[in-house]
C-alpha cells in the first residue's frame, strides 16, 4: 500500500495531464451539447413544420445511434470525406452531438411545461415570437431543465472515457497505465473511480447552484435544489423577510393561481 502511494505521487503529473484531457472533453462537450440542445430544442417547438420536423429527425437520429458509432464515424469516416479532425475535437464533437440530442428533448419539454398563462400574457402584450421566447419563456424553462441537464452532464462526463478509443491519454487511460505501473488493480482503479466521482460531484454541485439561482430569480423557494440550494435559500430568505415586513403587505399572499 505504501509502495502504491509512492508510485502514485510519482505518477501525479501524468494523472494531472489525463485529468486535463478529461476535463477538456467534458467542458467542450457540455458547451457544445448545450448549444446544440438549444438550437434543436427550440427548432422542435417552432410553429412551422419546416423547422420542427427536420429537428425532430436529427434528434431521433443522434439518440437512436450509439455514441461509439457516432464517434467512430467522425474518427474513421470523416477523413475519407476529406475532413480530418484531431482526436480531441472528434471526441468533443461526438459527445456534443450525442448528449446535445438528449438535451434538446429536455429543452423542448421544459419550454412546453412553462405555464400556458405565461405564453398567453406574452401574446396579449403583442411581443414578437423571438422576444416571447427569449425574454419570457426560456428564462422560466431554464429553471425547469437544469435537474435533467445535470443528469445528462454527468452521463457526458462518463462518456468522455470513450476518448481511450481515440488514442487520447485521458484519465481512464492514465489509470490503466497506473495499474500497469503498480500492478495493483484495486488500488489504481479506486483512485480512478474516486477522481471521476469527484468530477461528477462538482458537476452536480454546479448545477444545483445554477438551479437555486434560477429559482430565486423566479421568486421561488430554492431550498429543494440540493444542499447548495439550501445555502442560497438561507441567503435569500433574510432579504425576503425584510420585504414581507414592508408596509402595504397586509393582504395575505395567495399561493394558488399566483405567478408561479
Amino acid at each position: 500500500m505504501a509502495e502504491d502511494l509512492v508510485r502514485l505521487v510519482d505518477f501525479l503529473p501524468q494523472l494531472g495531464d489525463g485529468l486535463l484531457v478529461t476535463v477538456q472533453l467534458a467542458l467542450g462537450g457540455a458547451l457544445g451539447s448545450f448549444a446544440i440542445a438549444l438550437l434543436l430544442g427550440l427548432a422542435m417547438v417552432a410553429p412551422t413544420r419546416w423547422l420542427a420536423v427536420p429537428a425532430r429527425i436529427v434528434v431521433e437520429f443522434f439518440r437512436g445511434t450509439s455514441l461509439l458509432v457516432q464517434l467512430f464515424w467522425l474518427f474513421y469516416v470523416l477523413p475519407l470525406l476529406g475532413a480530418e479532425l484531431d482526436p480531441l475535437m472528434c471526441g468533443i464533437l461526438a459527445l456534443a452531438l450525442n448528449y446535445g440530442a438528449y438535451s434538446a428533448e429536455v429543452v423542448r419539454s421544459s419550454v412546453m411545461h412553462v405555464e400556458p398563462g405565461q405564453w398567453e400574457a406574452a401574446l396579449a402584450l403583442s411581443l414578437t415570437p423571438a422576444r416571447r421566447m427569449f425574454r419570457v419563456i426560456l428564462p422560466q424553462a431554464w429553471a425547469l431543465m437544469i435537474p435533467s441537464l445535470a443528469t445528462l452532464q454527468i452521463q457526458l462526463l462518463k462518456g468522455t472515457a470513450v476518448a481511450s478509443f481515440l488514442t487520447l491519454q485521458d484519465l481512464n487511460e492514465r489509470i490503466d497505465i497506473l495499474r500497469q505501473d503498480t500492478g495493483d488493480t484495486l488500488f489504481s482503479y479506486s483512485v480512478g473511480f474516486l477522481l471521476y466521482f469527484v468530477l461528477a460531484w462538482l458537476i452536480q454541485v454546479t448545477m444545483d447552484l445554477l438551479e437555486a439561482l434560477a429559482k430565486r430569480r423566479l421568486g421561488r423557494d430554492p431550498s429543494d435544489a440540493g444542499f447548495v440550494g439550501r445555502l442560497v435559500a438561507g441567503a435569500g430568505t433574510s432579504a425576503g423577510a425584510g420585504e414581507a415586513d414592508a408596509p402595504g403587505t397586509a393582504e395575505p399572499a395567495v399561493a394558488k393561481g399566483g405567478a408561479r
Binding site: 405555464e115 398567453e120 406574452a122 396579449a124 403583442s126 411581443l127 422560466q140 399572499a253 395567495v254
Partner: protein, 287 residues
C-alpha cells in the same frame, strides 16, 4: 356568399341575416366612425365541438360591455379570440375597422401575417384570471417590457409611465418587488397596470376576480371602476360580479350555447330579462 352589385370591398354586408336580438348593435356600413370591435359570422370549433357559431355583433368605441352566461356558453372564448389566443375557425373580427387575423380578399378568406396581426393586437390589452405576471422580471419590468419592445418607447419614458400607473393602482412602492412576493390582489392590480401601460383602445377583463380570496376582490374592482370612470377605453368584461357589471357597463350580452341570447342595457337584462333562460341564470348567480 353575398353578391354585391357594386364592388364595395371595404365593408361588405354580413352574409347571414342578423339575429333580431342584436338590434341595438347592427353595423352601420359606410356611415359614422368604425366600431371599436366587430364580429362577423364568427365560428369557433374545438375539434368536433362547436363553441361559437354565426356570431355577429359590434361594440362602439368607449362602450363597456359585460358578457354573462353559464360556463361553456363561449364568453371567455370571445375574449380569447379577440386577443388571438385562439384561432378563428370561420368568419372575421375587425378592430377599429381593421381586420384582426383574417381578411376577405377577392371573396376568399385569407390569414394575415403575424406582423400585421400584432399591429392590431397591440391596441388591445387583456387581464387574466390568474394574473400571469412574468416571474422572471420585477414588477416594474413587467410594465416596461412591452411599451419598450412593442411600442418603441424609450426605457426612461416607459419606466416613468409605469411608476405613474403603479401609483394609480396603489402599488407605487412595489415597483422593484418580485411579483411572487405580492398578494393575489396586488398581483392582479399590477396586471391591470401592465395592460394599461400599452395605452390600449380595448381592454379585455377575463374573470379577473375569480381566483382571488373574497376579501381581496374589492380593491381590484375599485381600481377597475376608477379606470372606467377616468378613461374612454372600450371594455369587454367577463365576470360573475353582477353588481360590478351593473355599475360599470352600459351593455350586457347574455350568451347561451355559443350564441347571443339577449343583448341590452344592464337595467333591461338584470331587472326585466325577456328570456326565461336569462332569468334562471340570473337567479342562480344572484342567490
Amino acid at each position: 356568399m353575398p353578391e354585391p352589385a357594386v364592388p364595395e370591398p371595404a365593408v361588405p354586408e354580413p352574409a347571414v341575416p342578423e339575429p333580431s336580438v342584436a338590434e341595438p348593435s347592427r353595423p352601420e356600413p359606410s356611415t359614422g366612425a368604425a366600431p371599436a370591435l366587430e364580429f362577423r359570422d364568427v365560428e369557433k370549433r374545438f375539434g368536433r365541438n362547436t363553441v361559437l357559431s354565426g356570431l355577429n355583433f359590434t361594440v362602439r368605441p368607449g362602450e363597456r360591455v359585460t358578457l354573462i352566461g353559464p360556463s361553456g356558453s363561449g364568453k371567455t372564448t370571445i375574449l380569447r379570440l379577440i386577443m388571438t389566443l385562439e384561432t378563428l375557425s370561420e368568419g372575421y373580427i375587425y378592430v377599429g375597422g381593421q381586420p384582426l387575423t383574417h381578411e376577405e380578399r377577392n371573396g376568399k378568406r385569407v390569414a394575415l401575417p403575424g406582423r400585421r396581426v400584432r399591429e392590431t393586437t397591440k391596441r388591445i390589452g387583456m387581464v387574466f384570471q390568474h394574473f400571469n405576471l412574468f416571474p422572471n422580471m420585477t414588477v416594474l419590468d413587467n410594465l416596461v417590457e412591452a411599451p419598450v419592445h412593442v411600442l418603441g418607447m424609450s426605457r426612461e419614458a416607459a419606466a416613468e409611465k409605469a411608476r405613474g400607473l403603479l401609483d394609480r393602482v396603489g402599488l407605487a412602492e412595489k415597483a422593484d418587488a418580485h411579483p411572487t412576493r405580492l398578494s393575489g390582489g396586488q398581483q392582479q392590480r399590477v396586471a391591470i397596470a401592465r395592460a394599461l401601460a400599452m395605452d390600449p383602445e380595448i381592454l379585455l377583463l377575463d374573470e379577473v376576480t375569480s381566483a382571488l380570496d373574497p376579501e381581496l376582490v374589492g380593491d381590484v374592482l375599485q381600481v377597475l371602476r376608477d379606470i372606467a370612470a377616468e378613461t374612454d377605453i372600450t371594455m369587454l368584461i367577463v365576470t360573475h360580479e353582477m353588481q360590478f357589471a351593473r355599475d360599470v357597463s352600459q351593455r350586457v350580452m347574455m350568451f347561451d350555447q355559443g350564441a347571443i341570447l339577449e343583448d341590452g342595457t344592464p337595467e333591461e337584462i338584470f331587472t326585466r330579462p325577456r328570456e326565461a333562460r336569462t332569468q334562471r341564470f340570473l337567479s342562480a348567480v344572484l342567490e
